[in-house]
Symmetry: C2
Subunit: 215 residues, 2 copies
DNA sequence: ACGCTTATTGGTCAAAGCACCAATAAGCTG
DNA sequence: CAGCTTATTGGTGCTTTGACCAATAAGCGT
């Protein structure tokens, strides 16, 4: 990476340094996995001694949990933007079309990573649960909005949200091994959503067709 | 664990020792995770030097892969027995009722574990793919048998199998974090199966009701 | 211009892991 | 019973990791 003439010290604002560390950690997490976030690895990315990273995150696990949380939250904001004025059907279609796209493979892998690692790291586990709640709530709110607008029909918005999320998780479970599922299988996310929300078949699929999302 | 008077040596048949090692590894894998399979850990379980375990498995990754493969294969044989003469509907119902039951939480966790670890361990990755194929093929065969018998109706048995497996994976994705999904969500496995196979609603659910499986 | 806070360095320590190897003895085979 | 194969031991070397600490210097506030 970048290097400085030895003997000099770059002293940065704590907030800035902390952000740098989290950025580097996010990069490592997305490309190599959460277990590759080590004091040394992050240190060499920033051209800084490992001890400095430890200074900002006395416990590595906190850095790991924070990194995952930030990445998951960022992905959620991209997939289901908070203050959108689009109709719920369009937003849901956009979400379903993107969530399994190659663009999000890295972060879906990250979820898999975090869910497993949560077994050993309590702090990370709490963060995984928290992010899971965020996703469920955001999607539930979207479904409720659609129901209010008369676009969707369902008695249990939260149950539907959980079902959709579970299908997405299931379809990306094999991302590290054998990613190539037949298109007919991947369509299940849209199928479940349309059925649960009593949408006529194709309503969401049309939005998911290539090119339909740029409109 | 068990200990021997020091100075004596217990020399076992290679096949027996190997089986012991795999048994111990399976126990560790199911209760603590695949990354806890170490030469030392297995060695102390068998009251044997770590080097001996290394003698049977010169590369730890081979032991890990073999352990996972054996456990997954065993679970498959339990969930979808090979030479059964039961009607396909009953077998499928049995499978769906059991796969997500608490009894199989450990091994479902193991799948999650293996799918993540496959990212770093090529040998394990091959094994995960292999086991995934086994599951898909076994379930596909069951569905084809049901179609031949006129119990199921589908044009794409393999697609249906993959969908069912994906739903099961999705519903057990959070096993390490927040295991308690509403029953209405867990029912999705049965719902998808009944819909995809054009079964009247409740056909599989009845089998899944408590007590129905002991028949 | 001085002083104080603290960001940053550099180095140490213990733990845990895998791989490797030479020596030993168990127990089968001739 | 002798000899040979090899299961088993015990020990070594190396790597990676997280945590910890004292010393140093950057740069802000007074």
């Amino acid at each position: 990476m970048s290097s400085r003439p030895p003997g000099t010290r770059l002293r940065k604002q704590p907030a800035e340094r902390r952000a740098e560390i989290l950025d580097a950690a996010a990069q490592v997490a997305l490309t190599e996995g959460l277990e590759c976030i080590t004091l040394r690895r992050i240190g060499e990315m920033l051209d800084v001694r490992p001890g400095l990273v430890g200074h900002y995150f006395p416990a590595v696990e906190d850095l790991v949990a924070e990194t995952f949380g930030a990445a998951a939250e960022a992905e959620l904001s991209t997939l289901i933007p908070a203050g959108s004025d689009e109709p719920p059907t369009a937003r849901l279609a956009r979400f379903l079309a993107s969530a399994l796209s190659e663009q999000f493979h890295d972060v879906n892998r990250l979820w898999l990573n975090a869910r497993h690692l949560a077994r050993y790291r309590p702090t990370l586990r709490r963060r995984v649960i928290l992010q899971g709640d965020h996703w469920r709530d955001r999607l539930t709110a979207l479904i409720e909005a659609g129901a209010r607008a008369g676009e969707f029909r369902t008695a249990q918005p939260e149950v539907v949200a959980l079902k959709i999320l579970a299908v997405i998780d299931g379809l990306s479970a094999d991302l590290n091994a054998d990613p190539k599922l037949p298109a007919a299988v991947l369509e299940m996310a849209v199928e479940v959503a349309e059925r649960e929300l009593e949408l006529s078949p194709g309503t969401l699929a049309d939005w998911a067709a290539p090119g339909a999302l740029e409109a």
